[in-house]
Symmetry: C2
Subunit: 189 residues, 2 copies
DNA sequence: GGGTGTGAAACTCTTCACAGCG
DNA sequence: CGCTGTGAAGAGTTTCACACCC
């Protein structure tokens, strides 16, 4: 969103404009931003550049975040190549797969390693966030390995409820849920 | 979640157990379910089978929902093959791509058609929900075409804010946002 | 004038506690 | 007895309105 404005050369943006772009109400936008500090100028709006930097800092994206991908099937490949990640300072540093034929290959500039080396390589590369893109049947095993390697944040794309210790955050992206939500919305106008 | 229980032969499930599996509190589960009707038996719990059917009906998944995929790159391919969708009665009936070399091929049993035929084929196949998995630069054009073809529900995977008429629902799956959320959670314990 | 930041009101959502039924 | 369904209390969130500053 802020990228669009930056690309258009806009330097300042009002909460009203952010409202239109984001779908949140203008007072909402102001309150949420004010929660983290005073970023805006009265009578002018928010500096696009300043806002982006501030949000980056708040999200902890100002310092690089090393990511690992587990599973290099279609989905893993797509995610490795996904443009959205590149805009932040997060980056994939290593990928893993169980298929011996894929080991040693490179996908989107990231080398594919055997799952057996996960523990060691995750520590070596200082990976703090891992993404699970393996078949549902293997997802829990992968999660257990990741937890064993000290990973505290996991993004799971496998359509399965996974068990994890309380101090490990697991965020599920269940693509079917999105379709269900839209289906429900269609059925109820 | 309910699939897990069904697979284990469990016939009834309590709100307490659903709470552990879903992460929502037990009263929360009960209230949400009660909102749609009385599905549970006091002293016993909810029938797994009954619940699944009821939820399916509520979501409008009891009748088939035809889906179209626009964009057959890595992400489109991954989504077409995604297991999660198959469990419901939703199904992909057609896919589109701008690349002439892909036209006529079949991905996960779905034939790839030229984007130029989108309007006609969407109507022919009675598609009501389309998924956008094209590069960000082309996403808005695709959305406009879909809207022109009468599609009222769109799931967008391109990392871009899209403009759509008020009566068209656009659900964005921004994969970067998920990483940002976990990154923020990591930074703030 | 224009747009932020924020107190106060309105609203929604969550939790608690328990009556009541199987 | 065990667990649902739900009124009432509590917490959190959104909206409104406007003082204040650029």
């Amino acid at each position: 969103m802020l990228d669009i404005e930056a690309a258009q050369g806009t330097t300042d943006i009002s909460s009203a404009r952010l409202s239109r772009l984001s779908g949140f109400s203008a007072p909402q936008v102001r309150r949420d931003l004010a929660y983290f500090g005073s970023f805006g100028k009265r009578g002018v709006g928010y500096s696009v550049r300043g806002l982006r930097d501030a949000i980056g800092t708040i999200l902890g994206m100002d310092q690089p975040m090393n990511l690992a991908m587990v599973g290099v099937g279609n989905l893993g490949r797509a995610l490795l190549a996904y443009r959205g990640f590149a805009r932040q300072d997060s980056q994939f540093v290593v990928a893993f797969d169980a298929d011996a034929r894929k080991i040693g290959s490179t996908v989107a500039g990231v080398s594919v390693e055997p799952v057996g080396k996960m523990g060691r390589l995750l520590r070596e590369h200082d990976v703090r966030l891992a993404i699970i893109a393996v078949p549902a049947t293997q997802a829990q095993d992968v999660l257990d390995d990741l937890v064993g390697a000290g990973i505290k944040a996991i993004l799971n794309f496998a359509p399965r409820v996974l068990e994890a210790p309380d101090d490990v955050m697991v965020s599920n992206v269940d693509l079917a849920v999105e379709v269900e939500y839209l289906s429900y919305s269609l059925a109820n106008r």
